[in-house]
């Protein structure tokens, strides 16, 4: 049971990340790999505030969101100068900068030593120490994020974002300030990713920079591409599939000497097959 709860918690966290990235990549068409940086900022904000000041988890989530929001506003403005592939490259560069800060600002992040002993959330004297309660909390956060994303996608704001994705020049002709829209969704996406980071830090109770590498960014992109771009349902399904699949493969009885390696090969093959036969993802409406 604990194992299933663990998987469900990870699915919730990665679904939040997928949903937040989907707003930027799927809905708006900005190929960004920065999400893991904001995920990290949220995680470090919670880890530092909980371990050094004893701040309440929920307040730390808020602080993480504000920090991510400010950083994303600055970075988003710089990245708005780029388009398409150059935007992706620029976001990749930002990722490296943030990773380097996590690694080198030892006075704050403890660098490669990581931050151990991060506490679990507390609310009105109740501690979410049991994983089942942490799962409930994660689901509440996921539901809130899903609701926000659905609201955005179905709003007039969301329709403008989709129009930017399809033809930015055309929407500009109609008098829309596309820079403002892109910046707004970039900031919202970053703040939501930060929530996932806070949950992750409090759940695992230890973080170090190795969790927030480019590999994780690629994994997040894979979640929304597999699930289906521009679909909130797709982001959720993508997270379920990509978290669940390697766990299911653990129960396939490969010869023990090569089991771990075989699992990764099969995992890769399944992803390639899925992309070959469902390039728009499982429930997607848009192809990169």
């Amino acid at each position: 049971m604990e194992y299933l709860i663990h998987i469900a918690i990870l699915i919730s966290i990665y679904a939040i990340l997928g949903l937040s990235l989907n707003l930027i990549v799927g809905v708006t068409g900005l190929i960004s790999v920065t999400q893991v940086a904001f995920y990290g900022i949220g995680a470090y904000a919670t880890a530092i505030l909980l371990t050094s000041t004893g701040m309440n988890f929920f307040l730390s989530v808020l602080v993480g969101m504000i920090v991510s929001g400010i950083v994303s506003l600055l970075i988003g403005y710089v990245l708005s100068k780029f388009k398409d592939d150059y935007f992706a490259l620029g976001s990749f560069g930002f990722n490296i900068i943030v990773y380097s800060i996590f690694l080198n600002w030892q006075g704050l992040t403890r660098g490669p030593l990581g931050i151990p002993g991060i506490g679990r959330p507390e609310l009105f004297g109740f501690t979410f120490s049991d994983n089942i309660w942490f799962l409930v909390l994660s689901i509440v956060f996921l539901a809130a994020v899903y609701f926000i994303c659905e609201f955005i996608v179905n709003s007039s704001f969301g329709r403008v974002l989709k129009a930017i994705r399809e033809d930015e020049e055309a929407i500009r002709v109609f008098g829309y300030n596309t820079l403002l829209y892109k910046l707004a969704i970039f900031v919202i996406g970053a703040m939501l990713a930060s929530v996932a980071g806070s949950l992750f830090a409090s759940y695992i109770t230890f973080i170090d920079p190795s969790t927030f590498t480019l590999n994780e960014s690629i994994f997040l992109l894979a979640i929304i591409i597999l699930g289906g771009l521009a679909s909130n349902r797709g982001a959720f399904i993508g997270a379920v599939c990509l978290i669940l699949l390697p766990e299911i493969l653990r129960f396939v009885g490969f010869p023990s000497d090569i089991a771990a390696q075989m699992r990764q090969v099969v995992y890769g093959i399944i992803l390639i097959l899925l992309m070959l036969y469902r390039p728009q993802g499982l429930v997607g409406e848009y192809k990169l």
């Binding site: 120490s129 695992i204 396939v252 009885g253 010869p255 771990a260 036969y277």
Partner: protein, 382 residues
């Protein structure tokens, strides 16, 4: 398109069936004189079989498998066979946590061995403190305030400062002016640095020069080498693993810098690499904390045609220790802890007892020198 899906689904089902069938054959406790009808002692192993610590995880697995085969061939422990269930943590903290959860809640193991690197083991230890399943890490020493154990976690190595202090005699006997350390940043390397500095100050030498780097592999040490050369460091401790010592030694040679080099058991990886001209390591002195008994070494080499490295001996010992503790406690998890705390265990590597801090009392250490790609016991030459 529909046909493709059906064929795809059929292929997956066939794969699963073959897999499960094969698993039945290889997953059972080893054959031998053991009564298979008795409830097995189930040991879980959270090891890094993939990712950057894969070489450590593989060696742990070899050590564990060897111990399980031996114990079962000898009739088990208190007549109970030993079975091991592996979980690859992919050198990733969140996967390691998942593996701990899987092994305890799905596989229902009695105790766990794991994991290899500190940043992967830390969250597992944290989880164990609020759980009831004991974890024993084979590859991590204890560092007070840096890598601590708790009521349900144990390490198979002693306090790290004790291990590094074994270099005192060596440094006292070797003529040198300035010691430097080039280290990969971690709690362990901080401890090495602190202890080496203390040793040097006690020997009335200047404080050590410290140079750090932050990632394993793909490093360029030229700047560091030139700085050390300029500072006149005539003896350099390399706290490195994977290909890093090889890169450092090569680049130092290119830049005409030839200090006396000391390193630790992390050199085992590059020494064992295929295609590496190991003569480049000749003369390097190694603080070898993976020293195994001759009995273990010969058994390991006979079975795997490999030299045991990266804590294989301690993973092997951990199986003997945990299976005895579990058998004596009759799989009662609360009693397993007290059994581990109170007993002196006998393993083929020798007797073993945990300290009150849940670490080994002493880690056998030897100072060796690399000659012709092999370890030779270091002796002082006047």
């Amino acid at each position: 398109m529909k046909k493709t899906y059906i064929w795809g689904a059929v292929a997956v089902v066939i794969l699963l069936i073959i897999g499960f069938a094969y698993n039945k054959k290889v997953g059972a406790p080893g054959a031998g004189g053991v009564d298979m009808s008795k409830e097995p002692i189930k040991i879980g192993a959270v090891v890094s079989l993939t990712g950057v610590a894969a070489s450590f995880g593989e060696m742990s697995k070899y050590g564990i498998d060897l111990a399980v085969d031996e114990i079962n061939a000898a009739g088990g422990v208190n007549g109970r066979p030993v079975a091991v269930v592996y979980g690859d943590d992919q050198t990733d903290p969140k996967t390691a946590v998942g593996m701990y959860q899987k092994l305890t809640s799905i596989d229902r193991v009695d105790a766990i061995i794991g994991s290899n690197f500190d940043f992967v083991t830390q969250p597992v230890f944290a989880l164990a403190s609020s759980s009831d399943t004991v974890v024993v890490s084979p590859s991590n020493p204890r560092i007070s305030g840096g890598f601590d154990t708790n009521r349900h976690s144990f390490v198979m190595m002693s306090d790290f400062s004790k291990i590094v202090s074994e270099l005192t005699n060596y440094l006292a006997q070797v003529d040198h002016k300035q010691l430097a350390i080039v280290r990969f940043e971690s709690v362990f390397s901080e401890q090495i640095s602190r202890t080496l500095n203390d040793i040097e100050l006690s020997l009335k030498k200047p404080a050590i020069i410290t140079e750090t780097y932050k990632q394993i592999g793909n490093n360029d040490y030229k700047t560091i080498i030139l700085k050390l050369k300029k500072a006149g460091a005539d003896i350099v401790f390399l706290d490195m693993v994977a290909t890093d010592p090889l890169t450092f030694v090569n680049q130092a040679k290119q830049l005409g810098y030839s200090p006396k080099i000391i390193t630790h058991a992390g050199i085992e990886g590059p020494l064992a690499m295929k295609g590496v001209d190991t003569s480049i390591f000749d003369g390097i002195v190694v603080l070898d904390w993976n020293a195994s008994s001759d009995v273990f070494k010969s058994k390991f080499e006979a079975k795997y045609k490999l030299v045991p490295t990266n804590s294989a001996n301690r993973a092997y010992d951990a199986v003997y220790i945990l299976s005895k503790a579990v058998a004596d406690a009759n799989s009662d998890k609360a009693r397993i802890v007290s059994s581990l705390e109170s007993q002196t265990f006998v393993t083929p590597n020798g007797p073993f007892k945990f300290t009150p801090e849940h670490a080994a009392g002493k880690t056998p250490v030897q100072i060796v020198e690399i000659k012709g790609g092999k370890y030779v016991l270091w002796t002082h030459e006047e």
